[in-house]
C-alpha cells in the first residue's frame, strides 16, 4: 500500500543544508503494523511527517527518493490530490495531545470538520462523533461534545485525537510517539485501544516510538533508525530475540526488565549534536 524508496531529506540552515534522512526505504502493507524505533533526532518523525509533506517547506528540502501510496508518488502529487490523502487516506496522531488540539474550538467542531471534509455522505455528524468517541473509550461521550480541549485530561485528549483521526476511516494511521507524553497507566490503555481499533477496522498503523518495550504485541514488523538511516528491519520477535546491528542490540539492552538487579542501565554514547 505505502512504499517509501530511498527517501533523502535535508534542512537548510544559514550555514548550509544539514541532512536528516539519508536514503530511507520502507513499505507498509494493507492492514499491517510497522513500528519505527530510534532515539530522538534519528529522523523517525521526519519520515512520518514527510509522507504527506507535512514538513514546513522553508527549512525542509526534499533531496530525493519517492513515496508511493496506492500507486501515486505523494512527493509529486498536486495539492488537491494531497489534501484528499491527508486525513482521508493517511491520518496522524501526535505526541503532545495538549497542544495538538485547537484550544479555542470545541471537540465537536474539530471532529465535525474532519467528517464533513472526508465523509460528506454522513448525515448525522454528531451521532457519528459520539460513536467514535465511544469507540476510543471516552466515558459518556455525548456530554463531552461541547467541551474544550483544556477541559480534558492528557489521556482523554489523546483519545479524542485518535477518534478524530479514525473518524475519516483512513487506510493508514501514523502514530508519532502517541504515548510518550502520557503516564504509564494511560499508555497501556491507549495502546490497547489502538490495537483493538486496528483489528476492527483492518487499517494499517505506523507506530513511531523510541521505546522498544511497547512495540511487542503491536507491530509485526519493526524498523530501527539511527542517524537518518534504517539500520535494521524485520519481524518484531525476530529482531528482538536476535538483533543483528550493534545499535539495535544496545537499544534492546537498555530495556529494564522485571526482577532485573543491575544497578545502572547501560547507556549509549550519542554521536548526534
Amino acid at each position: 500500500m505505502l512504499k517509501i524508496n530511498d527517501l533523502r531529506i535535508g534542512f537548510s540552515t544559514p550555514t548550509g543544508i544539514t541532512p536528516a534522512l539519508k536514503g530511507v526505504s520502507l513499505d507498509v502493507g494493507r492492514g499491517e503494523t510497522l513500528a519505527i524505533v530510534g532515539e530522538s533526532g534519528s529522523g523517525k518523525s521526519v519520515t512520518a511527517l514527510a509522507i504527506t509533506r507535512l514538513l514546513p517547506k522553508p527549512p525542509a528540502v526534499y533531496q530525493g527518493g519517492s513515496i508511493t501510496f496506492e500507486g501515486r508518488d505523494l512527493l509529486k502529487a498536486s495539492d488537491t490530490e494531497l489534501r484528499k490523502v491527508r486525513g482521508g487516506k493517511i491520518a496522524y496522531i501526535f505526541q503532545e495531545p495538549s497542544t495538538s488540539l485547537n484550544p479555542v474550538y470545541s471537540i465537536r467542531s474539530q471532529m465535525a470538520e474532519m467528517i464533513s471534509l472526508h465523509r460528506p455522505d454522513v448525515a448525522d455528524v454528531d451521532a457519528e462523533i459520539v460513536r467514535w468517541l465511544d469507540a476510543v473509550g471516552i466515558v459518556d461521550p455525548a456530554k463531552r461534545l461541547n467541551d474544550y480541549p483544556h477541559q480534558l485530561s492528557g489521556g482523554m485528549q489523546q483519545r479524542v485525537m485518535i477518534a478524530m483521526a479514525l473518524s475519516a476511516r483512513p487506510e493508514l494511521l501514523i502514530a508519532d510517539e502517541p504515548t510518550t507524553a502520557l503516564d504509564v497507566t494511560i499508555q497501556k490503555q491507549i495502546l490497547d485501544t489502538l490495537r483493538e481499533l486496528q483489528r476492527d477496522l483492518g487499517m494499517a498503523v505506523m507506530l513511531i516510538t523510541h521505546n522498544f518495550a511497547i512495540i511487542r504485541g503491536l507491530a509485526r514488523h519493526v524498523a530501527v533508525m539511527y542517524r537518518g538511516e534504517i539500520v535494521e528491519y524485520g519481524e518484531t520477535e525476530q529482531v528482538l530475540s536476535n538483533p543483528q546491528h550493534p545499535y539495535t542490540r544496545a537499544l534492546i539492552a537498555c530495556i529494564p526488565r522485571l526482577g532485573d538487579h543491575r544497578h545502572r542501565l547501560p547507556t549509549i554514547e550519542s554521536q548526534v549534536k
Binding site: L49, T52, L54, P58, L82, R83, K84, V85, R86, G87, G88, A91, Y92, F94, E96, T99, S100, L101, N102, P103, V104, Y105, E113, M114, L117, H118, Y148, H150, M161, M164, A168
Partner: protein, 320 residues
Amino acid sequence: MISFVIRRLVLSVVLLFIISIISFFIVTLTPGSPYPWGELNPKISPEVKANFRKKFHLDRPLHEQYGLIMRDLFSGNLRSIKDDRPVMSRILERLPATVALNLTSIVISLSFGTLLGVFAARYAGTWKDGAGSFIAFLFIALPGFWITYVVVVALVKGFGVPILGTHSYGIEFPNALASGLDTLWHLLLPATILALGGIASQSRYIRASMIESLREDYIRTARSKGLYEDVILLKHALRNSVRPIIAGIGMVLPALIGGAVVIETIFAYPGMGRLGYEAVLERDYPTLVALNFVVAALVLLGNLVSDLLSAAVDPRVRLE
C-alpha cells in the same frame, strides 16, 4: 462571571475617584484664570471678576472647591465656567459625534489592520511580508497633523469637496440619499485619517500573533486533516490571534480621544477631544474634571468589555 463583573465595577469606581482627585488638582494647579472674557478686556471691572469668582466658588480653598465640584458633578448641576451650562449636557451633546468618529475609526483600523496582518502572516518571510510591514510603518511614521493638512488641501483644491463639520449645511440636497451620503462622507473622511496609524499598528499585532499561532502543533494537526490552507489560516490561526487585539481595544480609547483633537480641529468636527482642548485653554475646571471622569469611565468600561470579549473568544480565559 457576575462576581467578576461586580468586583471590576467596584475597582473601577475606586479608580475613578482617585483619577478625579488627580485630574482636579493637576488642572487647578495650572496657572491661568478661567474668566470667559478676555483677561485684559478694558470693560471688565475687578468687581465683576470678584463676583464671577464667587459664583464658581473659585475663591474657596482648593479642597473645598474639589468637594463642591464633586457634589455638583453627582447632583448633575455642575456648570461649565465658559457658558454656565450644565457640564454633563455639554459633554453628552458631543458624545454621539465622538463615539461615531472613534468607533468608525476603530472599525476601519481593525478590519484593514486584520486584513493586512493576515496577508503579511500568510506570506511571512517572503518579500510580500517585507512590503506589508514597510507600508504599515509608512502609516505609523506619518505625522498626524501633517498628513491631515496634505489630504485636506488636496481634496479641497483638487475636487472642491466639502470637508467641514458633520454635514454640509446650507446646500440644497436633491434627495435624502445625497444628504445621507454627505453625512457619511463627513464621518468617513476624518475617521479614515484618524485610523491610519491604527491600521498600521493593528496589522503589526495581528501579523506577530498569527505567525506565533502558525507555529503551534494544532496547525500541524489541522494540516494533517487535509484542510485548505485558507481554512487553517483564517479559522484555526486567526481565532487564536484575535485575543491581543481585543485586549488592545480598552487602551485605544484615550489615545483616540486625545489624538482626535488635531483631526477635530482641522475638520471642525464637534468631538470631545476639542472640547477638552478648549477647556484646557480656557481653564474651564468643571468641564475638564467631568470630561476626565467620562473618559476614565469609558476606558474602564472598554477594559471590562475587552476582558469579557476575550473570555468569549478564548475559552481558556477564566474570569477569576
